[in-house]
Symmetry: C2
Subunit: 204 residues, 2 copies
């Protein structure tokens, strides 16, 4: 009896088949990378180590991710997807079904806790300043917060949702929260209270 294989794409012709292989290949490399990061820490995650763990050539890893930052950002996107599903389609108050104010209020603590659990990865995957705000994960967060600020009516009081969304995003920036919690010793609860206060001040 032949082994059953579930393919995400119908294998008509060569190209879709190759794409399905590429998707599996990428997922396998990311799974190996995630395992290595968990076991040895993000700072020891190299292209070589991922190639060995996934039993492929080093060239395959480079072709797939470009460089180490590319690998870290792919891993971060993978981790970020879980957080995204929470705020895009999860339970209220973070997900749909709650008011914009409630969803804004829930976003900060959720982002702070999520980032704290993956702090090393978020810091290591930070790209150069010119590329930072172009990363898909930040753009999705920004679009979401700007949408909620619009729903909460900040435009009626002269607010600029695009800029105010950046203000909220910056509050949960990994480098800043790492500084505040590790270097200045602020408890996460103080940051969460600060978020609630900030949302109140911005929405009015």
């Amino acid at each position: 009896m032949p082994q059953r294989r579930v393919l995400p794409l119908t294998p008509i012709g060569e190209e879709p088949r190759l794409r399905a292989d590429a998707v599996r290949n990428r997922a396998r490399l990311l799974a190996a990378a995630a395992r290595l990061a968990d076991e040895h820490g993000v700072e020891h995650l190299t292209m070589d180590a991922v190639a060995s763990a996934a039993e492929v050539g080093k060239g395959t890893v480079f072709r797939r991710f470009g460089d180490r930052i590319g690998l870290l950002q792919a891993l971060l996107d993978h981790v970020e997807e879980r957080f995204q599903s929470g705020f895009l389609e999860g339970e209220p108050p973070l997900g749909p079904g709650a008011t914009a104010r409630e969803r804004l209020g829930a976003f900060g603590p959720a982002a702070l806790r999520h980032d704290a659990a993956h702090r090393e990865l978020y810091l290591a995957a930070e790209g150069k300043p010119e590329r930072r705000y172009l990363t898909p994960s930040l753009r999705v967060r920004h679009t979401h917060l700007a949408m909620l600020l619009r729903s909460a009516g900040v435009q009626a009081t002269g607010g600029d949702p695009e800029l105010l969304a950046h203000t909220l995003l910056s509050f949960v920036d990994s480098a800043l929260t790492a500084h505040l919690t590790s270097q200045r010793g602020l408890p996460l609860e103080r940051l969460e209270a600060g978020w609630t206060d900030l949302v109140d001040r911005l929405i009015g």
Copy 2:
């Protein structure tokens, strides 16, 4: 007639004399670096180029600044000092003599214009995420904004001046303003209006 030399330290014994030499030496290296950055752009500013321009050995430049990021941050501190003198002891509304609200209102546009004039340097001197918030220039800005927020009375309404100061600082972060103006095409005036609006929302 002997040449008159004004020394910042009285030359009694060897040590102060050496320190005065070190101060002059450092100033000479920074002047050479500033000239090179103006003429050829920050991206071409190397330790080698500074050594050649200042007619010293490469080792001297490394001893003085550690590495290229150290050199860029020293250059940034030098540029930042001019901006600092504006908000610490300059004319109102940026300097003393205006109300806290007026000074907060003036800080953003001044920071945005200052940073835009030195954008390349601010982006190039950005250190690793773990060190970013420990740089002296950011700490001075933060202390100043937290002081103004306290004077404006945000604590009376439950605000946390330390966190709200970071919210204001993040608004004028070089990587963010570079993204907004260069990559998204927002005019500086929109950011300035956004700052005024943000100060109003934070102070209430």
